[in-house]
């Protein structure tokens, strides 16, 4: 009977929906509900199994002691199995018989895994939030519309530089914003959030507890329940340093771009492919294009193939060898206009120190270059004139000296000469010397005239007419010897010349040809004229004696240089011609072959 009763009792236990177990006083499992056995993964129990409960709760070392106290208690524990971790909560209560004697312990166990997991998730979320606040330095605040309570998070307090214990009122919070724009703005936004459910996100300035003015970004988002705003949640972030940095960067950029734009230089930045990535105003003005039209373009898009190739090779050299080109003189041709530049190209490095292109600067030195050329020309002219002056001074001194020396000598003779016949001879000589001196002075005067009267205006003169006029003077001379003159000069050719000089040039050259004609041939003079862009070239050729230019090239146009035994040769004509043509900015050259003939080429300069 007793046994049956017992069986019944335990059979009932098996069926209990809540996991329940019974222990004897020694802590050995007597029996348990199926659900309890299932939790711990135990087989059905009988007298032989003798499962010790302390082994099941191995993580709780003082379980035995606590059971002996015969008091109710509960504890949390967990079981690891293949499905993962199960969190459990067990309630321990003393088991009394009818006489209130403790005969063992009743255990009830709940599976609290979902609750624990939820808790863990909340912990995790809180962690994330805190980390986020910490990392982003973004604080939050919350306003309860009904209670009018405002709460700040730690970060929010830190931003306002208030102690952690500070709890603000709405008025206080708004008063932290800088009076004026910031304070008015935040009041309005906060009001609108509550009154008309509007979110906001703006940048304003606060004055912290310590009196520091700092830029912050604030947001606010109303939460609505039953059509009414019940809560406003928002964030605050200190963006002062970024704001200041940004302002500073903007200021730097402004300074830099003003500087680059106002430099009297063409400035450009090119990438590795020599495409322009930045151009300044100077560069735009030079190309007469807008910035957008130049960005991305290479020199091949802008210049001729040859110029572009030279520029690209420079670019490659700079970017490859990392050696800058400083102040190199370059020439660029754009739309047919040539510009001289003083160009510098410097390698451009990115933040990692790798070359990413180049910075170019070009200074337009065309005007300077032109001035320099003018100066060079002037120096050349001056030194040439100086040379002429020196050689003229020598000529003067030599020729005058030679006459005066003769005077001295002859007068010396005259002084000591008694013989009247000899005296007469000496006086004849003196007369001759005097005539010679006069002639020399006349010649020298002519040369001085040429070199001082360069200011005399040139006139356009018909070449053909002037030649014909000069040739008339020779007609008697030429007819006598059957000499022939072929004048091929076209009628319409004009030269810009001082009239007297043109006559002198033609006269001297033709008379030279007549003077030095070959004794073996009939004289033939050919006159030609060619007009080109540089001016008019007049050629006078003869078939006369010619002259050995290897010997006399340096002297042919020299003063008082003669090369043939002729009584009427004074060595002055060609010297005069050369002075006259050079005084008009032209030049004269000679070609000759002994016993063949001579050609004089006269270049008339058409510039006035």
């Amino acid at each position: 009977m007793k046994a049956v009763k017992k069986v019944d009792q335990f059979y009932l236990l098996k069926q209990l929906p809540k996991a329940t177990a019974l222990l004897c006083k020694k802590g050995i499992l007597l029996d348990a509900s199926c659900s309890w056995l299932d939790i711990f993964g135990l087989p059905p129990q009988d007298e032989t199994t003798k499962t010790k409960v302390s082994l099941l709760y191995s993580e709780i070392p003082d379980l035995k002691r606590r059971l002996k106290e015969n008091k109710s208690f509960s504890l949390q524990h967990k079981i690891e199995n293949t499905d993962g971790t199960r969190y459990l909560k067990s309630y321990f209560a003393p088991w009394f018989d009818e006489k209130e004697n403790v005969i063992g312990t009743i255990i009830q166990t709940d599976d609290i895994t979902p609750e624990v997991q939820k808790e863990q998730q909340i912990d995790w979320l809180n962690n994330i939030l805190e980390t986020k606040v910490e990392v982003s330095e973004t604080g939050w605040w919350e306003f309860n519309v009904q209670t009018e309570e405002l709460s700040w998070c730690k970060e929010t307090k830190r931003i306002h530089q208030v102690p952690d214990c500070f709890e603000p009122t709405t008025i206080e919070a708004i008063n932290f914003f800088k009076p004026g724009y910031s304070q008015n703005k935040v009041s309005m936004l906060f009001h609108k959030a509550i009154a008309s459910n509007q979110s906001y996100n703006t940048k304003l300035m606060i004055v912290t507890f310590n009196g520091e003015e700092r830029w912050v970004r604030i947001t606010g988002k109303p939460f609505v329940k039953d059509g009414k705003v019940i809560k406003v949640f928002g964030t605050i972030k200190d963006i002062h340093d970024q704001e200041i940095a940004e302002t500073r960067i903007k200021e730097h950029q402004q300074l830099l771009s003003t500087l680059v734009d106002s430099l009297p230089l063409n400035v450009y930045v090119k990438d590795l492919e020599s495409r322009k990535v930045l151009v300044n105003k100077g560069e735009c003005n030079y190309f007469d294009k807008r910035v957008e039209e130049l960005i991305g373009k290479t020199d091949f898009d802008l210049y001729g193939e040859k110029d572009a190739q030279i520029s690209r090779e420079e670019d490659i050299q700079v970017m490859k060898n990392l050696t800058p080109i400083i102040g190199k003189e370059t020439v660029s041709t754009l739309n047919g206009k040539t510009t001289h530049f003083l160009t510098s190209k410097i390698p451009h490095f990115d933040l990692e120190g790798k070359v990413c292109g180049l910075i170019g600067m070009s200074l337009d030195i065309t005007a300077m270059k032109k001035k320099q050329e003018e100066l060079c020309n002037l120096i050349n002219i001056t030194s040439m004139q100086n040379q002429k002056l020196i050689s003229f001074a020598h000529i003067v001194s030599h020729n005058l000296r030679s006459h005066s020396a003769n005077f001295s000598m002859l007068l010396g003779f005259l002084n000591s000469e008694k013989d009247p016949q000899e005296r007469k001879r000496i006086i004849d000589m003196l007369t001759q010397a005097s005539d010679n001196l006069l002639e020399t002075l006349g010649n020298l005067n002519q040369v001085v005239d040429i070199n001082t009267k360069t200011a005399e205006t040139k006139k356009p003169l018909n070449l053909q007419n002037n030649i014909v006029k000069v040739l008339e003077n020779f007609s008697a001379l030429l007819d006598k010897d059957d000499s022939q003159i072929i004048n091929n000069v076209e009628e319409n050719i004009e030269v810009s010349c001082i009239p007297a000089y043109l006559d002198s040039i033609i006269l001297n050259l033709v008379s030279n040809a007549v003077k030095y004609k070959s004794p073996n041939r009939t004289l033939l003079i050919t006159i030609n004229a060619v007009k080109s862009t540089e001016g008019v070239l007049l050629s006078i050729s003869d078939n006369g004696m010619g002259i050995d230019l290897d010997k006399y090239r340096d002297k042919i146009f020299g003063m008082y240089k003669t090369f043939h035994n002729r009584k009427d040769a004074k060595g002055f004509g060609l010297y005069l011609v050369k002075n006259q043509i050079e005084a008009m900015g032209g030049s004269i050259t000679v070609q000759s072959e002994v016993d063949k003939g001579t050609t004089f080429n006269v270049y008339f300069n058409e510039e006035s």
Binding site: R401, A405, L410, F413, Q432, F563, A569
Partner: protein, 137 residues
Amino acid sequence: MKKVSCIFIVDDDPITVFGIKKMLKSVASCDDIQIFQNGHEAHEAIKERLKEGKIIPEVVFLDINMPIMDGWEFLDELIALDIKEHITINMITSSIDPLDYKKWNGFKNRCPYTLNFKNKPIFKIEANDLGCMDIAS
């Protein structure tokens, strides 16, 4: 009176030639005084004399500025002829161009003959102009 076998006067200025001839009369006795208008003529004459074995001028009065062949060119040609006999050459010029003086100095160093530099006007022909320094002193 110094006896000179042969004198060449090379100058295109008849007045200078007249003067030299006149001055020579009082200091030298010479039966063979030759006048030339320029270096070329004088050079031809010397070549001719060499060819025919005639006497070479003992003294030469040489102008610098002359047509066709000037004094310097004549000197070049004369040195090239490599004449063994001694010649006294008097360069006569009215030039005061320092360049001419420099040129003379250059020639003096490489000329095997006595080379004098005489600036016009000349009033007297010295003994050493005739190549007789030893006798004169």
